[in-house]
Symmetry: C2
Subunit: 160 residues, 2 copies
Amino acid sequence: MVEKKAFQDYYSEQMSYCYGCGRLNEVGMKIKSYWNEDENTSIARFTPKSYYIAFPGYVYGGLMASLIDCHGTGTAAAAVYKSEGRKMGTKPELRYVTASIQVDYLRPTPIDQELELIGKVKEIKGKKVIVEVNLYAKGQLCVKGEVLAVKIPENMISIS
Amino acid sequence: MVEKKAFQDYYSEQMSYCYGCGRLNEVGMKIKSYWNEDENTSIARFTPKSYYIAFPGYVYGGLMASLIDCHGTGTAAAAVYKSEGRKMGTKPELRYVTASIQVDYLRPTPIDQELELIGKVKEIKGKKVIVEVNLYAKGQLCVKGEVLAVKIPENMISIS
């Protein structure tokens, strides 16, 4: 069963103003990520506003990079909590930022519908997590992304 | 001297609804790209709205990927017009979409100021153009991007 509380709902207040996924960013996209039933992959669903187009009928690439980015860092944090046998949201807070992102646009992505992002952790190594994120529209793979996420130093979480 | 008319101002109406750079997208970011004085590099300047943050004080990575994307495809089109000895905006229209993008976030990018993007064409090969885009804040290199842009088939420009 998909959890009702999203990964991002566990972020501390200070870490919840991200335009992409922060629950406290009033105008942001509030992306929500969850484990899939298998707990091996993560899922986020998002329906873009009609003006988020590259050209009429198709989703803007920058938006999809943004979705992949936030779903990737959220999945990284959740995966490390899990790998350490810890509950989401427990202290010290685990939060990740994107060190690099690679996005391959395989085909134009139709707009005016829900997009589905599936995340899969490829590697956890020290402070780095590599997450692969595939984006689907109408069940068709449209975009492939890979996020190299890096743990935010604890002092940056509290002072930034 | 920097041209007054941006690359994106030459796009046909049909190609001008992009959320990132379309002059006709009413809520979009309307990124504007120009050749630098040397005509060897391109430049775009953009001041993010205050809510485009990853966390307080710092620009959201997805926004910067978007800026790099549109500045990259705009630079690709302008570079091919130039390499073919054609004036911008002449028919058949040359327009490029992003096939893939790689973005490396070198350091947190401070918000509440103008960002500067510098594009440089690395390669033009058939329908593909590779553009390197560096993003600076306060003169400091914060983000490095690379865009693989691909020419849009002419029939897609007119029918899409």
